[in-house]
Amino acid sequence: MDSEYIIEMLNIRKEFPGIVANDDITLQLKRGEIHALLGENGAGKSTLMSVLFGLYQPEKGVIKKNGEVVQIRDPNDATALHIGMVHQHFKLVDVFTVLDNIILGAEDTKCGFLQRKNARKKVQELSDKYHLAVDLDAKVEDISVGMQQRTEILKMLYRDNEILIFDEPTAVLTPQEIDELMDIMRGFAKEGKSILFITHKLNEIMAVSDRVTVLRKGRLVGTVNTKDTTKEALSAMMVGRPVQLEVHKGPAHPGKVILDVEHMTVPSKLHKNNAVKDVSFQVREGEIVCIAGIDGNGQTELIYGLSGLEKMSSGTITLDGKDLTKMSIHRRNLSGISHIPEDRHKHGLVLDDTLENNLVLQSYQDPRFQHMGFIRSSQVRDYALKIIDEYDVRSGQGPVTIARSMSGGNQQKAIIGREIDRGTPLLLAVQPTRGLDVGAIENVHAQLVAQRDAGKAVLLVSLELDEVMNLSDRILVMYEGEIVGELDPKKTTVQELGLYMSGAKRSGKGEA
């Protein structure tokens, strides 16, 4: 019997200690369709895909291929069933060539020797057919992220996979590369391949998918035809309540210059070149300036240079008239920098300490919280309760909760509360919504706008184009360590922004 569905996951249930990650979820993938899987963090998308890929065994439910029940015990079973997956973080060997990466694990050998010739021919054919341009002899460490992704896709095609899973494939791409990927995906669908597309970006779903399955808190909310639904309806399905997708903010009223950076150069830890090259810019009070760019173009080092985590090799930083260039991190903090760090687990929190201790991470030496070197624990407790209340930080045991046990969204709320409450004139917010779900993002955006309206200078670093376009009053685009353009979000388009981000376009304006 030839079923309409190529893959069916019926009534899947997967439990972890203390939580049901997948509760009675049914997902049916039609032949030749692009099927989006949508859900917040922790909704169970990855677990479901891991079940399909053989990484987890479900407690209940069956998987059918072409209408017949199959057992997928490990990824090898999945490969045998022609199921392939492009992981969010690529699984490539950096020092191998593209070709070697593609054939790795499916090598053709004769007497133990690799037979690269046939493989090369097959890969080249696939590459030409699907317009997946790669340099087969380049080492993975030397090629762009986009090409790495194409390598991953070729890996799936080389294994004759007909069910292709893409796990958040667009997170690392420029708008142009995203468009290309969408075209490639459409081409696959036309060929009769079936695609499962995991994402939380509604624009992409509307653009490319045929049907959408929405999960929430481990349960199936429903499967809808993309053409019968809207972004608003999908986000409401995902979060369980109507969500404000656009940021509401009035016009900015920039005042005096708060942060003035001149000719900042920061060396790189990864390569010999400087990560930040002779960058100059200003941030005024009452405006949100966003540093846009593809990950790894010097944004992280720029912020490290500002906060003092990394030493600048040249340049000056002036904050509100004070020269910070030579100051320690501690004195910069006191002089008026708050910093919502990029990596909340590495820098933002002492994960194994309590929430209350984390909330005074910078201010424990403040006379409010210590007397003669002894911590005033009752004051710390009161302060923690205040922040928890004001910023709606939810945790199991209140102030004494171990930070590690809190959800990502609440950890971020705690950090944002702590940093905003310090009331400094400059707020550095680095990817403040990274890994947060739609509801939490809404909250963070509102907080940042409120800070701007209260007359603070906000320097935002974001990789999310929607966030850049919606939230900022000015956009500075970084490419290979330089500011290559200054854009007005009201006058520019995502496409133009993308050209700057990929280095295809630049103006002298931002460097002035």
Binding site: F16, P17, G42, L55, I329, H339, S377, S407, G408
Partner: protein
């Protein structure tokens, strides 16, 4: 009542104490098994002898010797208890030393070196300042502080190497340990502190009582007559309480702990992590050096100065003492005393049975092994929980990276 017990069990601290107690129990049982195994393989040891050995292992501290009929007698043994407390004194101090460094994320395997430097400084000060012109209590105090200072300096070296040059503190500690052993040997070799009075002995330094310097008894001799104990144990307990306050109640302790738990976050917050690493190792060194001072200033033991081939066990035993106490300064008091008790049990075994004291070393090593192991289990438990069983081993690394989907893990925990 049952709920209360359940609550108690669920507390982190309770589990740590339980884990340590289980390690101790298993260690003692293994010791007993060794006693039986040795007994069975030796014709000279009777069933009664084996049984005596087992009894001594579990309750040797309460043994009062053998009566005229050759049967082991039991009861309150003030001398054993006092000697146990005397031997516990340096162990508590080195245990604190290891625990303090551990709170800052450092493994202070350099306690033996710091202990030796403390030994040298306190002995030299105690023997060289004539008590005829300076009051003995002042000499004692100077010697004690000198011991602490020497240990602090010796601890600060690996600390500085770690903080400034990024050299692993374990390597630096091992090097400084042997440096200390050779420096101490050389320094006493060229000194005039060598014991020349009792010429039956060679390689020993004068007892500090030779110069009239001795730790005050503080009434301990009345409590435990006939033993070596003195006020040192009270000082060690006081120091443990002070360390507890330092770690848990002060801003410095907060900094040290933040550095230890997440050096990146500490740096981000403006804490001077380099200074704190050096400071933490200096404090650790001071505690080990102070432990040496308390031991030798007792005045009733003599130091074998030609030590270049060996390191003092009191230094190394600080590691199991701290491990068993899960690095809790108050816990260190008890685990230090426990380790000293095993020492005494070893003496009892040698004295009253055909066994020798090395069996207690077996017990100690089993306990250390298990306490380290239980720490591992404690660390692994939440991870197993989070990952959802052994199946999860095949989970791709992508999911452990701090990207959106991984937040799930935090929620589950």
């Amino acid at each position: 009542m049952k709920e209360k017990l359940q609550d108690l069990y669920n507390k982190n601290g309770t589990r740590k104490v339980l884990a340590s107690l289980i390690s101790i129990l298993i260690g003692l049982v293994v010791g007993a098994i060794v006693v039986i195994a040795v007994g069975l393989s030796k014709d000279t040891i009777t069933t009664q002898g084996m049984w005596d050995g087992v009894k001594l292992i579990f309750a040797g501290i309460l043994s009062t010797g053998r009566n005229a009929a050759g049967v082991l007698t039991w009861g309150y043994n003030a001398q054993s208890l006092g000697n146990m407390l005397f031997r516990a004194t340096p162990l508590i101090m080195t245990g604190l030393s290891v625990a303090v460094a551990y709170k800052t994320g450092l493994f202070n395997i350099g306690a033996p070196g710091q202990y030796l430097m403390g030994t040298m400084a306190s002995l030299m000060i105690a023997l060289s300042i004539p008590t005829s012109s300076v009051p003995a209590w002042l000499v004692w105090l100077l010697a004690f502080l000198g011991g602490c200072l020497a240990g602090a300096l010796w601890g600060a070296i690996p600390g500085a190497l770690k903080a400034l040059l990024g050299i692993n503190e374990v390597l630096a500690c091992i090097m400084t340990n042997w440096l200390a052993a050779n420096i101490v040997t050389w320094a006493f070799d060229v000194s005039n502190f060598k014991n020349m009075v009792e010429n039956t002995k060679s390689g020993y330094v004068y007892k500090t009582s030779f110069n009239g310097v001795q730790t005050a008894k503080m009434g301990m001799d009345k409590l435990f007559p006939g033993s070596q104990v003195n006020g040192g144990i009270l000082i060690a307990i006081l120091v443990a309480i002070l360390v507890y306050i330092l770690i848990n109640k002060t801003t410095l302790g907060y900094e040290l702990k933040a550095c230890g738990a997440n050096r990146h976050a500490a740096r981000y917050a403006g804490i001077n992590d380099r200074r704190d690493i050096i400071l933490s190792m200096a404090i650790a060194g001071a505690l080990a050096g102070g432990g040496a001072a308390l031991y030798w200033l007792a005045g009733n033991t003599e130091f074998y100065w030609s030590t270049y081939q060996s390191l003092p066990s009191a230094g190394f035993n600080g590691i199991p003492v701290a491990l068993l106490a899960v690095n809790n300064p108050i816990g260190v008091i008890f685990t230090g005393i426990f380790m000293a008790m095993l020492d005494i049990v070893g003496v009892q075994l040698t004295g009253y049975t055909a066994y020798n004291e090395y069996i207690t070393d077996v017990i100690i090593s089993v306990i250390v092994y298990l306490s380290a192991f239980s720490l591992v289990i404690q660390m692994m438990l939440p991870k197993w929980k989070k990952k959802g069983g052994p199946n999860a081993n095949a989970e791709p690394a992508a999911k452990t990276a701090p990207k959106p989907e991984t937040e799930k893990g935090d929620k589950e925990a």
